[in-house]
């Protein structure tokens, strides 16, 4: 009996080891194997399902969810390791929202295979119950680690983070929401409890790196990139963070020319990016990861940034 059990354990260990060995083999053979992951992102699309009308404005004919879907499809045919993310304010801004309260927005995003989103302040505009109801049409999770939705219609309908495995890279994505008081009418956010984003993001990122063993941590943030006054922003969060590698931002509708780089508390690079609003742009970040051993990396990691050559 005892021998059988030992024999079983021995066999399963060997079998397990063999599986792991084979899966790790390329890594052993090529010490400097690199892994590529493409991150696509939007923010503050604000119910802009149709292109801007041809009314002579600067952005006439631009945007539109069908054109975006076609671009995303093109990219997916050339790159398999894609993560598609949105940093909130999906809702509000066109009559589509006034009439349908977000249903076509969520359906279109599910069709485009968004991997995860966070909530913006305007996603509360038709009430939390409506947002929760519209999630019936969502094939992606809503990530938030600093809102406590206990005793609200959103209770159990969001999660603090999600771990993705893309191209052999383990990526943890977490979500951060802005302070609602003063921004969103009290009756719309109800019992939602707002917790300090820096504390929540750092704790969640720590968990993702240490417990979940993630290689990269992405924060979806609706804080806004930066402000004239000392209001909490992506800039402040980046500098106050320890384990966040990338912040996909929103709220301030800023079109970045170049992703911004900050140093976190460990002197490692934190990248922040945002692509304006209204679905006028799709952001693309092509990351290359190295599995090369480098003792310094634990303390400080530097990312070389450059413009992607046109494809």
């Amino acid at each position: 009996m005892l021998t059988d059990r030992r024999e079983f354990l021995r066999k399963s260990m060997l079998a397990g080891g063999a599986v792991m060995a084979s899966s790790m083999l390329p890594g052993f053979v090529h010490a400097a194997t690199t892994h590529a992951v493409t991150i696509l992102h939007t923010n503050d699309v604000h119910s802009r399902l149709d292109p801007f009308p041809m009314d002579g404005s600067k952005v006439q004919g631009q945007g539109g969810v069908a054109a975006r879907a076609s671009l995303i499809h093109d990219i997916r045919t050339k790159t398999s390791e894609v993560l598609l993310l949105d940093a909130g304010d999906i809702f509000q801004g066109t009559p589509y929202f006034n009439v349908y309260k977000g249903e076509p927005e969520i359906k279109a995003m599910s069709r485009m295979q968004y991997d995860a989103v966070t909530m913006g302040n305007h996603d509360f505009d038709a009430g939390l119950e409506n947002f929760a109801n519209q999630l019936r049409h969502a094939s992606f999770p809503v990530l938030l680690c600093n809102y406590d939705f206990t005793q609200t219609p959103m209770e159990g309908k969001s999660q603090p983070y999600k771990v993705f495995k893309k191209g052999g890279v383990k990526i943890g994505v977490l979500g951060i929401g802005i302070e609602l008081k003063g921004l969103v009418p009290d009756n719309l956010f109800g019992n939602t409890k707002y917790n300090d984003p820096v504390v929540a993001a750092n704790a969640t990122a720590d968990l993702l790196k240490k417990k979940e063993g993630c290689d990269m941590v992405i924060c979806l943030s609706h804080l806004g990139d930066k402000y004239e006054d000392n209001r909490l922003s992506d800039e402040i969060l980046a500098k106050e963070s320890y384990d966040i590698d990338l912040i996909i931002g929103g709220h301030t509708h800023r079109f970045f020319d170049v992703p911004r780089t900050y140093k976190n508390k460990r002197s490692s690079d934190v990248i922040v990016n945002q692509v304006g609003w209204a679905g006028l742009q799709l952001g693309r970040l092509d990351y290359v990861f190295s599995a090369e051993k480098n003792k310094n990396l634990v303390n400080a990691n530097t990312v070389a940034i450059g413009k992607k050559p046109s494809d």
């Binding site: 260990m13 792991m20 054109a67 990269m216 692509v275 990861f289 599995a291 090369e292 940034i305």
Partner: protein, 248 residues
């Protein structure tokens, strides 16, 4: 004796686990912002998905909700369109909050279109008030209301309801609230958009004052107000009654 047989296996497993958890690090990043435009052939699946929504939204925006007997445009210090909108702010706030509202205001720059002569469709109201501003109530002391009206005066005069005043040297003078002189020590209930009540358009004096809100969009109030007039057979209109005048 038997135990030693497992040692190599365990060592191997530990090594493998260590290899598995060896972190990969981002070393390089290439970025690109794609402008979404007509060079991308619209995805037919998404087009199909949107079609019924688009048709019905367009139908809804084309729905006639009222009429005018002449075109209405905004003007400082007072206009028929402005008076109509400010009255709507005060009347609909009073009804929704079930309270007496002493005064209602509309920030001039928030009025984004004229109303044409003839039939009004829902789309006209979305163009007039594209912003999703909420109606909020605030209880303000007379001296704070005076400060706010001085701001309104300095900007050339915004639409007001329940208020009469003159503008002299960009200051509010001869202020009447509900036909009575403004009392600096009295408390007044005023209706504004949340944008203004939150300090927008330099209305800093209103920012610290608590707000009462019901998640009621000002645009929805305009639509309901117009639909009521229509049911009563009345056009969207207002008269000029010297609510705000320039006096030198």
């Amino acid at each position: 004796m038997k135990k030693t047989r497992y040692v190599p296996c365990v060592v191997m497993l530990v090594c493998l686990l260590a290899a598995c958890t060896a972190k990969k690090h981002a070393v390089k990043l290439e970025y690109k912002d794609y402008e979404i435009n007509k060079t991308y052939v619209p995805d037919t699946g998404v087009q199909q998905l949107l079609l019924p929504y688009r048709d019905s939204v367009n139908r809804a925006m084309g729905k006639t909700i009222g009429f005018t007997t002449k075109s209405l445009a905004k003007k400082m210090p007072e206009s028929e369109l402005g008076n109509f909108m400010a009255d709507c702010m005060r009347v609909m706030a009073s009804r929704r909050f079930n309270k007496t509202v002493d005064a209602g205001f509309v920030n001039y720059y928030g009025i984004r279109a004229d109303l044409p002569e003839g039939n009004l469709v829902l789309g006209n109201i979305y163009m007039l008030m594209p912003f999703d501003n909420l109606i909020v109530l605030q209880q303000v002391k007379g001296n704070v209301l005076r400060e706010f009206l001085n701001l309104v005066a300095s900007k050339g005069g915004w639409p007001v309801s329940g208020i009469q005043m003159q503008i002299t040297n960009k200051q509010a003078a001869g202020i009447l609230v509900g036909n009575k002189p403004l009392d600096d020590n009295a408390t007044y209930t005023i209706a504004n958009s949340d944008y203004v009540a939150n300090g927008g358009d330099e209305a800093q004096m209103l920012k610290p004052i608590p707000q009462e809100t019901k998640g009621y969009l000002y645009r929805d109030a305009l639509i309901e107000y117009i639909q009521e007039l229509t049911r009563a057979g009345k056009p969207v209109s207002a008269v000029l009654e010297n609510r705000v005048t320039y006096v030198n």
